[in-house]
Amino acid sequence: MRLSDLFSLVIRETRIQKKTVLAMILVQVCLITVCVLLWMTSLSIRSTLSAYLDIQYPEGETVTLIRADYTQRTALLDAGFSEIHADCTGDLRSTIRCTEKDAVIDKESYRICYLWTVEDAELTAVSGQLWTAETEETPAIWLSERAAGELGCDAGDAFVFESYTKTSEEFPVLGIYPECDEYGDVIVNFVPYIRMISEIGIPQSYGMTGTVEQISDLPEIRRTCEAMGVTFSSRAEPWFSSMNMIEVLLYGVSVLLTLLYWMTLLHFCGMLLHRRTSFTVLCCFLGAEKRRIGALYAWLLCGAFAVSAFLSTGLLLIGIYCGDQAVFRLAGVSCFTASQTVLVFVLFVLCGFAAIGFSAFSQQRRIKMDVSALEEGGVSV
């Protein structure tokens, strides 16, 4: 059989089976488009969501730490927070007294500020020395000029916190600072005692926050914190926990639809060939080789599939544009990349062609050369 004749037979066969071919093209166009879009979405969902979170929290997310009261700052920093900020708005439930001077800091009349982190003071000391980053680990207390005057204390005196367990912690007065609204009357360096607070007293109202710089570190930070008994709630985290689920779901649907795509493709191949079994047998009776007729149907199917692939590129481009726009409007990030699209699409089309070729020849081979096939097939007009 000549190649030109083969092609005119292919065209003739296409015309004879035009309804089935048309249905095949339509179904395959839809399935190719949807499958490629889904696979691309699955492939890019993780980076899309991460990028979205990075945009939502450009400087990381600050979370409120619960039950972090007695946890050492360094441990929290080790856990992955970039910054720990503690806010003590209340005070300690214990008496602060200086036995030497017989002075008691009355919480009603003095505003006490507890330092949970220590940076260099921006004030100039009236006497003694003020807090610097170096004094962070030193138990210390600073008095305002007014408080020092009223209490009759000066740098060098020592105050003691009485705990319920009757153990006492000594806080020497390191210096006197000028009046300052920001710090109140008394400043207590708590850093070295955070762990021992329970023994000294419990702050009545207390807030602590930590900053997560890399949102993607959130799950790991939570794991470490939970081991320390600290918890927090994050607005970014639900995205992270659902990300896996969304991903699995997307991949699941992609796989299912891909299976459907294969099945319909093979079904159409089978249908187009099966209807023409008698024609195949007839051609063999008239002296055609079976694989020639196989080639005829392989060409027919490949042609129809090529048309589907071509049409689906148009639909894909529209789908990609709309999808990208929608995601961009929602999340501010682009989700699809050109290289991914081309790769997934080419893979799909190549596999499609392979399946068609295989199916056409293998099904053709299975056809039995028998007069009964002609009788059943209705070739006998």
């Binding site: 004749d5 024609f279 007839l282 051609c283 009776f285 008239l286 002296g287 079976k290 007069v371 070739v379």
Partner: protein, 220 residues
Amino acid sequence: MITVKQISRSYPHCEALKETDLQIQDGTFTAIVGRSGSGKSTLLRILGGLDSPTSGEVFYDDISLQKMSEVQLAAFRNQHIGFVFQQFFLEPQYTVYQNVEMPLIIGAVPKRERRSLVEKQLAAVGLLHKKNALASSLSGGEKQRTAIARAMVCDPPVILADEPCGSLDTENGAIVMQLLRAMAGQGKTVILITHNREDAAKTDRIITLEDGQVIDDATF
């Protein structure tokens, strides 16, 4: 010359042919008759290379069909044998012309030559005016004439006809018999299966089969 040597063909539940021997001279018109189920069609299929015997061999001159590969056998059928069946076996969605053209396409005859060959055969069976009609729209007689044109179009030396008049009325049957007779007149070997004694009487030789064996062989 066609030589059949010790051909047997068994099916799971019966033996259609039993060690049959036969020789058919070139250019003769032979009828095969026998009761239903006697193995006539089975013999014809084996003669035409559409089926293979369980044992034995079929020779066309010195060439054994059983020694041919599938590809060689297909080419042999295309070039050497024309088939005519009771049920016509035309492709209903093809036109008369396209049906007759099929063996030529399969035989890789160039398009230029095909036209004259097909039209010559259609003229010979008197169907040239119907060449663009769909095969499904033809009457039984016209279908069989189309099938005969198709069998003849490659100019094969052997024509195998399995009850070609079986589905036709007497008038159309007579036309078909005339065409077959004419073929034999042109030097072709025609083998005809028939139930009709009158038709068989128009041939040069009558072979009678029973239970897969030749029980009578009469030459006139």
